[in-house]
Symmetry: C2
DNA sequence: TAAATAGTGTCTCTCAGACACTATGTC
DNA sequence: GACATAGTGTCTGAGAGACACTATTTA
């Protein structure tokens, strides 16, 4: 059967845009927050990994496919940031892009294809096509907002960790130092003490904590 | 010239989804937050106003067109909420929907086509197709989050208003009463006093305030 | 012992919440 | 005068920020 809309037109009578996905995959380096980029196919330069949506595919699956095939990275679960819809944003034609973002531990990018990818600080992302610089800015502020509310929501740390390790991660995401005692009193109620202690370097042994069940 | 992607396919070789927009237009009634709905074209029932994106059109323009042609409402500026992308969400075919939301004063819905539209409380939206119930929930929580941070960001009130009027609007959006003195101390630093006072009903005259420039 | 880190006591300042009081209008 | 609303003083408790102290390890 053929569905028609209010003007009597069939669905297929409407011109349809291409729909792409782009992903700002952030991680932590010694220099702070950094973003994964891939070489552009056409000519030089770098861009965020992205791809066109395939028929019947979900957006999240397209993002994961782009990361797998273009960067050799697997197992991420990016979140939707928003749609970029300027009809002239892509000179290849009418392309909507749904921006995504994730923040993952460096180990998850270890297996990446190094010839075609790079990880650069978000403060110096280089020259990027389309709206990719804006996508990175949104990804960073989204990560900062979430880390300001919960302890390591993106599991950058393993199951158990010391409060020092947690604070260093939060400082790297926030981009500025955090007060040691205030930070402890803010996050400790949201963590589960394990009772175990560990020694990492000099200083008194630190207790190990877990995230609360959620 | 013809652009090709990494697999050598032309852009137009990819099947493309239809892209729709839907809008949850909220307003205030005596019963609190309410949402604008339009009659469904196919058979009975109600839905949020929406339409298919036209070629080269921006999403915001499609939303405004839908509100104008389907509800007779003009001059709104809905914000993007997110993309609904379940390939089977619409049995007419592969349709992505970009959800939008706005919150407007009742006067802005005065001119609406009453035969084809209704305004019902968000707490009892009726049976709705697609993801429209979820869109309303997101629109409400988005409005509540923004009203918790700024005084009347959506200009439900005119340029000048008393603190009582402002508080009643915030209570209606929040869905629960707010403490009079605490509310005043929280928002007064964000407002500009005009010096003028007005008498509305019994009681001591109240000062008129304006929103801060922004 | 010196240095480094962990954990905690404590003071101050701010602010939300709550109660109450004074001020000024309508009926 | 009775009542309703506007505006403000003030107390309390929670929490952030800051400083300092004790505790426990490595080198």
């Amino acid at each position: 059967m053929t569905y028609r809309d209010a003007s009597g037109r069939r669905l297929t009578d409407y011109p349809r845009p291409s729909v792409a996905v782009d992903a700002a995959v952030l991680t932590l380096t010694d220099a702070g927050l950094a973003v994964l980029q891939v070489r552009r196919q056409d000519g030089g330069g770098w861009s965020l990994p992205g791809t066109f949506l395939h028929e019947g595919e979900r957006l999240i699956d397209a993002v994961q496919r782009a990361l797998r095939t273009k960067a050799g990275v697997d197992g991420l679960r990016p979140r939707q940031l928003g749609v970029f819809d300027d009809p002239h944003r892509d000179d290849r034609g009418w392309v909507l892009s749904v921006a995504h973002a994730d923040l993952v531990p460096p180990a998850q990018l270890e297996a990446r294809e190094r010839l075609w990818t790079r990880v650069v600080p978000v403060t110096a992302p280089g020259r990027l096509p389309y709206d990719h610089a804006e996508i990175i800015r949104r990804a960073v502020s989204d990560a900062r907002r979430r880390y300001a509310e919960h302890p390591d929501p993106d599991h950058l740390l393993p199951e158990t960790f010391t409060l020092r390790e947690l604070r260093l991660v939060h400082e790297a995401v926030a981009g500025h130092p955090l007060q040691r005692d205030t930070f402890r009193r803010a996050v400790e109620p949201l963590l589960v003490p394990t009772g175990a202690t560990v020694v990492r370097g000099p200083g008194r042994p630190a207790e190990l904590f877990e995230r609360a069940e959620s």
